[in-house]
Symmetry: C2
Subunit: 129 residues, 2 copies
Amino acid sequence: MSAQEEAIGVSSAFGRLLGLEILKAERGEALVRLSMHDGLRNLHGKLHGGALFSLIDTAMGQASLSLSDGKPGSVTLECKVNYMRPVSEGELTCHAKVLHDGTRTQVIEAEALQEGKLVAKAVATFAKL
Amino acid sequence: MSAQEEAIGVSSAFGRLLGLEILKAERGEALVRLSMHDGLRNLHGKLHGGALFSLIDTAMGQASLSLSDGKPGSVTLECKVNYMRPVSEGELTCHAKVLHDGTRTQVIEAEALQEGKLVAKAVATFAKL
């Protein structure tokens, strides 16, 4: 098993710092969970936009990695995120899906939900390494 | 002094978790610093895109807050980020500037730099509360 294959489903150091849990990563899709805790709060006492973005970027990265078949993986080139609802407590999940798996790039979309309601939506371009 | 005025220049719980340092926040501009440490690494061993986004979002939030004059502040509605260089070690800074301070929204841009080189660029829309 290559280092990249081992990395599928494995949290990075940053993912562990935030408490991200990778629930699924296969066939171009991934599901990652984040449980709210006090270390993730912004100045309003809500989930920080950067922490929510980190959940999204990690789910996208895992969806991308799930298609790499032991190749060196990918990196985020650009991402657009829309925030729709604040998060105060509880768990949220992010589902990411590779929409286009090109030769050099991938287009990936993701939705973060809490109790069935859309919290944030993002679309990104990843570069294959 | 209101809670919001006190919040200018003060890191959130999430900012402290990452190690963000707010160097300046006045007249619609802000400068925030992040020093690389092992807790911020992605699966490639580089600075995680979510940590870099958190630096950018925090600088934008401080630039926004610096114009609020004790009003309840603002939240990120949407943001587009482009990543240009990986970061392995050392310090980087993010400068954010409010381009448009409207009645209900603000348009804010930010650049993250390391040793004079552009690492990431972002433009966002914030909603005034």
